[in-house]
């Protein structure tokens, strides 16, 4: 058994595992890959491998050290992730720089895993730079990112850069079926998740993700006038708020748990404030994730129409193939479809940079109505 076992099948991760040799271990790594590339799991496996005492540089996956690292419960493996839209300089100072100056608590090596490292704003990246340049002994940094271009050149140049592949579609389908998902649903989820196993799991899981996807797919069809556009924008925003409310319920449980652990007396204020702050940022992230889901799905719908027109091999949304066919046969222009896809992508990127949510969604929907005018779709079967 090894910590790499669950990641078998992903060739780029297998090659990464082979690079973990003791003689030539880089202290700063940048793992690049889309959200489905398992880079988080790879980073945790790296942390376990360098610290495992039973199987050094391999990670036995079975000792207390490995188990705690895999559960994100190890005092020397630090996970830093954006609590809001950005990783701010204060968070880097508190969670990384201060900790990096201390000797390890119990492990051989301190490991800092910076999830979505591209969300560090430039000030935070610059603050990190000095520590990255001269890390203390026994310190390893693993930066994870899907958007390399958002990282400063000075950060990138100090890291060993590893490009990770997406998880292959067949692999995801196999995993989902092994987890008890019906074959049809597993195959479709594996197709539409774009190589992201987590997204595939959430789609086939118990949450509302599957229902939401149907809703997003119905939007292009229902977009028949600017007024509809505004209504649909409101509908999308409401759906996101709904997800936020669900998350809020979870957060209430966390607050109760904290109170049980610490009591409510004197001296617990800072812990409670920290939790409240984290919760607030987390809600913003949940909202952004649902909106991104909507924009990605709508974008993929328009792209599928284009794909069908050009031969139709890489269609994503196979479950609405009939409707896509109707669109492909209609008078919608290729340029219009292309502009619609681009608009979905740019709206998503604007939201990740803290744009105003209702405004962004409204302008997007209005522009989609304009690019893909309803009258050009005459003859679409719906």
């Amino acid at each position: 058994m090894s910590v790499w076992d669950p990641l078998r099948g992903n060739l780029s991760i297998e090659s990464l595992a082979r690079q973990m040799s003791a003689d030539d271990l880089a202290h700063s790594w940048l793992l690049l890959g889309s959200s489905g590339s398992d880079k988080g799991a790879a980073a945790v496996a790296m942390a376990a491998a360098v610290n495992c005492e039973v199987a050094p540089m391999l990670g036995c996956g079975d000792c207390s050290t490995c188990l705690r690292i895999l559960r994100h419960r190890h005092p020397d493996v630090h996970h830093v992730s954006p609590e809001g839209t950005f990783i701010l300089v204060d968070q880097i100072r508190e969670s990384v720089i201060a900790e990096a100056t201390r000797s390890p608590f119990e492990a051989t090596s301190k490991v800092f895993i910076l999830e979505e490292a591209d969300r560090m704003n430039p000030a935070a990246q610059n603050a990190l730079l000095k520590t990255l340049e001269e890390p203390g002994p026994a310190t390893m940094f693993i930066l994870l990112s899907a958007r390399e271009e958002e990282l400063l050149e000075t950060i990138r140049s100090r890291c060993r850069v590893i490009h990770l592949q997406r998880v292959p579609e067949e692999h995801i389908a196999t995993v989902l079926q092994a987890e008890g998902i019906a074959t049809d649903k597993a195959l479709l989820a594996a197709r539409v998740c774009e190589g992201d196993l987590h997204r595939a799991r959430s789609l086939t899981g118990s949450g509302r993700a599957w229902e939401r996807r149907s809703l997003w797919l119905s939007i292009p069809r229902r977009l028949t006038s600017p007024v509809d556009g505004l209504d649909l924008a409101a509908e999308i925003v409401n759906e996101a708020r709904e997800a936020v409310r669900d998350r809020e319920m979870h957060q209430k449980d966390e607050v109760v748990e904290l109170a049980e652990a610490l009591g409510e007396g004197r001296g617990t204020t800072s812990a409670r404030n920290a939790l409240a702050k984290r919760h607030k940022r987390e809600l913003r992230r949940v909202e952004e994730a649902v909106l991104a889901e909507a924009l990605d799905t709508m974008g993929s719908f328009y792209r599928d129409v284009l794909a069908l027109r050009s031969g139709g091999e890489s269609v994503t949304n196979l479950d609405v193939l009939e409707e896509l066919g109707g669109w492909a046969d209609s008078g919608v222009s290729d340029l219009g479809l292309l502009a619609a896809v681009e608009r979905c992508v740019s709206a998503r990127s604007a939201l990740s940079k803290n744009a105003n949510v209702p405004l962004t969604m409204e302008t997007t929907m209005l522009e989609l109505t304009e690019r893909v005018p309803p009258d050009s779709r005459a003859g679409v079967r719906s």
Binding site: S95, S103, A261, L262, G263, S270
Partner: protein, 375 residues
């Protein structure tokens, strides 16, 4: 885990270890206290915020050896509110039951698998350097030096205290770049080759607190990544504890070159007088303004804050050197004067712009203080 003990022993141990529980813990399980009962009739209570680890032990009738992680604050409050007499503690899956008199209390415990391994428990000294030092002397040295450490988190290395360990002696140094405190004290043992470590001022502050009232000697075991200070208790295990600390890694400023060999001007003054006058006159040095010292046959301390007021007071002194004026932050001056234990203080001054040196009658402590430039 199951044991019976005296309420006071339990409360004392829980309160001691709880000082290492932080509200800002990154791992949820660190809000807990680790209790471990062993067959030889000892119960160890430990807590850590990763930087500071505190552990103590008390005697109990152990019915079933074992471990449990109890919620720190709640358990602390509960035990403190028990009436005195015998207490029983039993840990089962996910729960700890406390029995006292006719009361039964059950609290949820935390996952023991998540609790970090405590390196201070590894008492194997083969990999480290062990020294022992007089507890009272160490407590005094800490109170002299720790106060000079910086509170500014942006230069982490200055938030620590440098410990230079050699055979027979240890030198403690701390600076916030406005003042520097250096104290040398004797130890038994030490490394062949000088070993330098920087310990967080916060942990040393807790160590100082724990040492209050301790007699005998403290053992410090310096290992690769941590130091563990321990005090052996009496036969009843009273007052036996271990405090562990991580190091701050990095290069501590080369402080020795800042201390000049000698200065031409030397003032000798009564410590108590200097302290009380500095405090009094310092009240009128507001908005970060300094107190001004005019060194001559007598010492005149004065302060002036525009729109607030002014004051001056003269202290009898012995002075050798040219008359001169030098100004200091009143708090830093008072800190230095109060860190010195002798009745008289010697202040050596170069000129109004060079750092001044404060020393007591014993030569083991030096306090270097940067003057404030007078406009």
């Amino acid at each position: 885990m199951k044991f019976r003990c005296e309420r006071d022993d339990l409360v004392g141990a829980v309160q001691f270890a709880s000082r290492a529980i932080s509200n800002r813990a990154t791992l949820p399980v660190l809000s807990g206290l680790r209790m471990e009962a062993t067959e030889d009739g000892r119960v160890r209570v430990a807590a850590t915020d990763l930087e500071l680890t505190m552990e103590t032990v008390f005697a109990a009738a152990v019915d079933e050896p074992g471990k449990a992680i109890v919620p720190g604050r709640l358990f602390g409050e509960m035990t403190r509110n028990l009436s005195s007499g015998q207490v029983s503690v039993a840990g089962t899956d996910g729960e700890v039951e406390i029995g006292s008199g006719r009361g039964r209390f059950r609290v949820r415990s935390l996952t023991p698998d998540d609790y970090p391994a405590l390196p201070i428990e590894d008492r194997d000294d083969s990999a480290g350097v062990q020294v022992s030092v007089n507890a009272t002397e160490l407590a005094a040295a800490l109170s002299q030096v720790v106060r000079a450490a910086s509170g500014d988190e942006s230069r982490q290395i200055l938030t620590g205290v440098l410990c230079e360990l050699e055979i027979g002696s240890v030198t403690l140094a701390a600076t916030d770049s406005y003042r520097l405190a250096v104290r040398t004290l004797e130890v038994v043992g030490g490394p062949e080759e000088q070993r330098k470590v920087v310990l967080p001022a916060r942990t040393l502050g807790e160590l100082g607190r724990a040492l209050q009232g301790a007699a005998g000697s403290v053992t410090a075991l310096v290992k690769e990544n941590l130091v563990a200070f321990s005090v052996e208790g009496s036969a009843e295990l009273a007052n036996e504890w271990v405090i562990g600390s991580r190091f701050i890694e990095g290069e501590f400023p080369k402080y020795r070159q800042l201390i000049p060999d000698s200065y031409p001007n030397t003032l000798v003054v009564d410590r108590e007088r200097l302290l009380e006058v500095t405090k009094r006159v310092g009240l009128l040095a507001q908005n970060n303004l300094p107190v001004k010292l005019q060194l001559a046959a007598e010492l005149e301390v004065s302060a002036h804050t525009p729109d607030v007021g002014e004051g001056q007071e003269v202290i009898e002194a012995e002075y050798e050197g040219e008359p001169l004026v030098i100004a200091f932050n009143p708090q830093f001056l008072a800190d230095g004067a109060s860190a010195i234990s002798s009745q008289r203080i010697e202040m050596q001054v170069g000129d109004g712009l060079k750092p001044a040196i404060l020393r007591g009658e014993r030569g083991d402590f030096t306090y270097l203080l940067m003057p404030v430039r007078l406009s």
